[in-house]
Amino acid sequence: MRHKSLAEFGLPMELAEPHAPVVLFDKVCLAFDEKVILKNVTFDVRAGHTKIFLGASGAGKSTILKIMLGLLKPDSGTVWVLGHRVDEMTETQLMGVRHHMGMVFQEGALFDSFTVGENVGYKLYEETTQPLAEVRLRVEEVLGFVGLSEHIDKQPSELSGGQRRRVAIARAMAAKPTLLLYDEPTTGLDPITSVTIDDEIIKLRDLEAVTSVIVTHQLRDAYYIATRSASRDAGGELQIDHADEVKVNEADFVMLKDGNIHFEGSADELRGSTDPYLQMFLS
């Protein structure tokens, strides 16, 4: 599977190489009053790869996603997303970068006055000049992708928690983003529904070549996403199997503790770590 290069999205040439960093955090610090949230956080996310942030509640995981999207500004340090220095951009300038990004919020954050179809097609209806018929087709396509085609005219309140998360994923992917951010996508869901959401994340990453940044404290889901891959067989049937070693190594785990990066490495390195904090977290 060839990963989409950034050049295909009209983004800067220096980041156009496949697997070039899509996100770069350099010594990022953030504090709210006396409370330090992030301390000198440095990492990158490469195109087509998956970055999984783990950590206890309040460790700063969701804050990292909000900084990537430009919803929060760091106190110091630099943040590059898709070739743009987002920590220096105005809200208007950020809209251009966000056009290539999608975010799945913790509780879905669906617009409760809109139907499922209107939620999914929101960005295309409101922020593009695409004809309505084309938007409707795209909405049906992405709802089909997450297996919710029959719910297109329902209100979000009529859906279960898992279905709402899948609608949120459909909404985030509708405008074909390069980079998708997931904030606790499976928190509060039962294990079976969680696997359905995990499968959607894997499908998007492997079939749509979307770079993924996932914040979670559900280790089981994190390992599942890191160690599985999606493909279609000759008949077009979707298959989710154990990933090969190369694919597994494309998923990085980052453990945050007290605003610092406590660990960064692959799934195997995380499993094999003898660090007491990691041991406690893994157990």
């Binding site: 809200e91 999608g102 919020f105 913790q106 954050a109 960005k123």
Partner: protein, 262 residues
């Protein structure tokens, strides 16, 4: 003890100044958003329907009974001077210059200000505002500008309705309770009005409508703390908007008197 009080006062002043700064910023952004693209015309129409038509019943009832009770009270007072036929003059002067705009604005502060604060507050605490930004939409343009334009345009129209219904309420009481003939009442209404009064009654609601809606938006967009925070924001929006309506009314009246009655 004194040190603690000073610290508390400093903190309170800092927070108050921050609120004022954020409110002014929101007003500037809303004004900029009203005259630049993207402009969400469909949302403006939707808000005109919600704020304008939705508030019609409460404004009509308020206007009618205010006019009616004014007629009853003034009828009694005017009787002492044998001046009952002049009741229309007093009702038109007080309704059109002052009571129409202020009571309509207070009703809107209760109905519209609270509704906006609760709606935007709920969107804040459920991350729908962040989702809007993540989807590339500016919440000021999408949510604030349509509400501000609708409030700015509909408050004067609702005030005119309240004034008309108030005069009708006064007429009904004058006719049935005070036994003042219709012709006498309506000619008294017209005689009691100067063109400057009409201008004052028409200009003030633009300011009041703007204040009510911007306060609702400001308080709503600064909501935090879950459902409890939404409740707190709703109360704060009504209280702040109601008090500001009276304060702004005073200063705008003072300004208009100096301009119109020179």
């Amino acid at each position: 003890m004194i040190g603690a009080r000073q610290a508390w006062l400093t903190e309170w002043l800092k927070n108050a100044l921050l609120e004022v700064q954020e409110y002014v910023k929101l007003c500037v952004l809303a004004l900029k958003g009203s005259v630049s693209r993207p402009f969400y015309a469909r949302d403006v129409m939707e808000q005109i329907d919600i704020i304008g038509l939705g508030s019609l019943t409460v404004v009509v009832l308020t206007g009618f009974f205010t006019g009616a009770v004014l007629a009853l009270q003034m009828g009694m007072t005017l009787d002492q001077f044998g001046a009952r036929p002049f009741v229309g003059r007093l009702i038109s002067a007080s309704m059109i210059k002052e009571l129409g705009p202020v009571l309509t604005a207070l009703m809107l502060a209760g109905r519209v200000g609270s509704g906006i604060a609760a709606e935007l507050g709920s969107m804040m605490v459920t991350e729908q505002i962040s989702a809007l930004r993540a989807l590339g939409t500016d919440p000021i343009r999408k949510l604030v500008v349509p509400r501000v334009l609708a409030g700015f345009l509909m408050c004067p129209i609702l005030t005119v309705v309240a004034n008309a219904v108030g005069l009708a309420g006064g007429w009904l009481i004058a006719l049935t309770q005070l036994r003042v003939p219709s012709g006498v009442y309506w000619s008294s209404v017209v005689e009691g009005l100067f063109i400057q009064d009409v201008w004052m009654g028409l200009i003030k609601p633009f300011f009041l409508g703007f204040v009510i809606v911007t306060i609702g938006c400001h308080v709503g967009l600064r909501t935090s703390g879950g459902t409890q925070g939404v409740g707190r924001s709703t109360t704060n929006a009504v209280v702040a908007a109601s008090v500001l309506v009276l304060i702004v009314d005073f200063f705008v009246t003072r300004l208009l008197i100096s301009i119109l009655f020179r």
